[in-house]
């Protein structure tokens, strides 16, 4: 193997983000440093076989400052929020919340894989809910497939038809009534949260 190959695979110490662990720990309740690397989280995780790095490694890599590798991993997106790790962790680390904090950071920094369905779904979901106040499943999935792999939509056509004919697919979006600055207007609330942050 040529020298350049393994050299490229190495993350050099100067590439680490030494604030990464502290920031994630602060966002998720400061228990990250208590991890004893027992692996209970990975062992009980229903999706760990499909992950780039199972949850135990994500915790170790986060503590060591491997920000880029962690945020680019499929692990954080495969986490389906089943909370098994969170309730089993002997050190009470809220691992599911750590995954959420990592997802939020990956979206903020736009470092997730571009045509990867899960972050695309999350962003489209946020947009639809902001617009209608409610989710609209058929539009959400259509948008996700168009932005990732339209071919997959063809594969799902039969399922869509069956849902339609059993009355389980809403064609038009359901919208909340409070709008335009009226009492209870959702956009007013969300904008107020945005302004508070900046």
């Amino acid at each position: 193997m040529p020298e350049s190959h393994w050299q490229r695979k190495i993350t050099y110490e100067e590439q680490l983000n030494n604030d990464f662990a502290r920031e994630i720990a602060e966002e998720t309740g400061d228990k990250l440093y208590g991890c004893i690397q027992c692996g209970t989280c990975s062992g009980g995780c229903p999706v760990s076989p499909y992950m780039d790095y199972a949850p135990r490694r994500i915790i170790a890599m986060t503590r060591a400052g491997f920000e880029r590798k962690v945020l680019e991993s499929n692990t954080i997106w495969l986490c389906a929020s089943c909370y098994n790790c969170t309730v089993e962790c002997p050190k009470q680390i809220k691992i599911t919340e750590v995954m959420y904090a990592l997802k939020q950071r990956a979206i903020r920094k736009s470092v997730h894989p571009r045509r990867f369905t899960i972050p695309v779904l999350a962003k489209e979901f946020e947009d639809i809910v902001r617009r209608y106040g409610r989710s609209h499943e058929s539009e959400l999935l259509t948008r996700m497939f168009l932005k990732t792999n339209p071919f997959l939509m063809v594969k799902q056509a039969l399922l869509g038809l069956r849902l339609f004919f059993t009355g389980r697919m809403a064609v038009f979006p359901d919208m909340i009534k409070a709008r335009g600055g009226a009492k209870g207007d959702l956009e007013t609330i969300l904008r107020a949260v945005d302004e508070k942050k900046s």
Binding site: V47, T86, E126, G167
Partner: protein, 292 residues
């Protein structure tokens, strides 16, 4: 007691039969309830992946609306029933996060005030399993069984978010409220250890291979334990387990077909409510009751 009802988005689309059957059962039991006016999406797992503060604000708008509509005295609790597991968790989680972080609570309350809403923390979010067992009571339920579910062997499936991370009304590792309800209505329940194992949530739509595999594990185990059907308490679990069975059977060269009903549909059947009022015509795999 009067309840407020938070249906959530899925109960008017893929989970329509859950909404239909739960309302039919509420009426049959004479429960007094009103839908929260102008409720919005709870945010589910996806919104939380994008922005935590806005996700909590989104959920809190519903809590504020409930408080206003509930109108109990200053100390009185407002009871909100949330049947969807995701809604149930998110509404509870928003309360927990605000309790843990005064800074977050201040931001959210300030934002709600901009839209002339307020939230003081008087809402108690409850799952219908909790309400049926602890408020209505198993004895009263049993007395309503006009057509008991005799001979039906049910695998009760809770999924993740009803018992994790907060187990407020049932055992976290081995919940039994659904079994208690269905047994009171005459059904048999099978013992199965996967009742809180994850169905994959949205993974069946985003990374199909992973999602289908998780559901294969569940369906296969239910069949192995000779269940006649699986009962669920979450619209996404029900969709995942029921609507992908063709693909799962094909992929694994094994017939995994089994009816998947909402536990409220089974309650309704036992109470003699007509099939159509329970949304049973919406099932992909027909739910049949053995002739009495």
């Amino acid at each position: 007691m009067k309840y407020l009802y938070f249906p959530g988005c899925s109960l008017s689309s893929t989970g329509r039969a859950y909404g239909e059957s739960i309302l039919a059962v509420f009426r049959a039991l004479g429960l007094s309830f009103a839908e929260i006016d102008d409720w919005n999406c709870c945010g589910a797992t996806s919104y939380m992946s994008v922005d935590e503060r806005k996700a909590v604000a989104l959920a809190s708008r519903n809590l504020a609306l409930a408080e206003e509509q509930g109108g109990a005295g200053p100390d009185g609790e407002v009871q909100v029933i949330a049947p969807c597991a995701a809604c149930y968790l998110v509404l509870n989680k928003a309360q927990h996060l605000m309790d843990e972080s005064p800074d977050l609570a201040r931001t959210i309350k300030g934002a709600l005030a901009q839209a002339q809403l307020s939230y003081t923390g008087r809402v108690k979010v409850r799952h219908p399993l909790d309400v049926f067992v602890n408020d209505v009571g198993l004895k009263a339920l049993g007395e309503k069984a006009r057509r008991p579910l005799k001979g039906m062997k049910v695998a009760c499936y809770y999924g993740c978010q009803i018992v994790r991370p907060y187990a407020t009304f049932d055992d976290q590792h081995n919940p039994t409220t659904m079994e208690q309800i269905l047994k009171a209505l005459g059904a048999e329940v099978v013992d199965w250890p996967l009742k809180t194992r994850c169905c994959g949530g949205t993974l069946t739509g985003t990374i199909e291979d992973v999602g289908l595999r998780l559901n294969y594990i569940l369906l296969r185990e239910a069949k192995r334990r000779k269940a006649d059907l699986i009962a669920t308490a979450c619209p996404l679990c029900q969709f995942n387990l029921e609507c992908n069975q063709d693909k799962i059977s094909d992929q694994n060269k094994e017939n995994v077909a089994i009816p998947v009903a909402y536990f409220t549909q089974l309650m309704g059947l036992a109470m003699g409510i007509p099939d159509r009022e329970l949304g049973l015509q919406r099932s992909f795999v027909p739910v049949r009751v053995a002739a009495a």
